[in-house]
Amino acid sequence: MLSLKRMLLAGLAGVGLSVTALSAAISIDDPLPDLSAYSLQGALPDLAGKVVLLDFWASWCAPCKESFPAFTALQRELADRGFVILAVSVDQRPRDYERFLTRLAPGFATVLDAEQTLVAAFEPPAMPTSFLFGRDGRLRAVHAGFHGDRTIESLRAEILQLLSAPAP
């Protein structure tokens, strides 16, 4: 009987460890990882000391299409104050990524995560999802999905607050 109990405990511990190992998403206050360590295609902008919006999108995602003009306007409005948008595509076919960019001509930096290594590290709960980092490189807010003006207004308020913080 005792050995059965021990076996059950060992089993539960094993399962617990496996489940813990599987959930490794980024959370508030976590630092922005070194993006050059991931197999991203495209030029990475200078992010040091800036407020960064890391947006995960895909060419097959309709709300992503809707978000691009709004993000372009936001980038143009706040670029001079130290705000950078880096949009990471999770498309697995570079052709889809390029076609989407040609059509929408975004006014911010984009890179391709075709191997989906960075997105797997962030584990966004929906497409698109934006991760907002402060000047200190720490995660300050997460926006799952894109809900038009509601998302933009909320983002603008958070970005302005982060921009007013002194550079580290």
């Binding site: 021990r6 060992a10 089993g11 539960l12 399962v15 989906q116 797997a120 497409m127």
Partner: protein
């Protein structure tokens, strides 16, 4: 050795049941699912025929917004 094997069997069984029981498609992995060819309603003729067969066989008169007796003859 036998004892060790007994200790390992149950954790392996539980882990197998829990970790391979279902597969979650993550939001960023849905590119193939979002393709046009994956849409069940991409062929309007096929959709109409399927609807007809459905409400006829299920005898669900008007079940999908289609009037009829369920005989499949209208």
């Amino acid at each position: 050795m036998k004892r060790l094997a007994r200790w390992l069997i149950l954790p392996c069984l539980i882990a197998t049941a829990l970790l391979t029981g279902c597969q979650t498609v993550q939001p960023w992995e849905r590119g193939t699912l979002a393709e046009y060819m994956m849409r069940p309603d991409r062929d309007s003729l096929h959709s109409t025929m399927s609807e007809h067969i459905y409400f006829s066989r299920e005898a669900s008169s008007g079940g999908r917004g289609v009037g009829g007796s369920g005989c499949g003859c209208n």
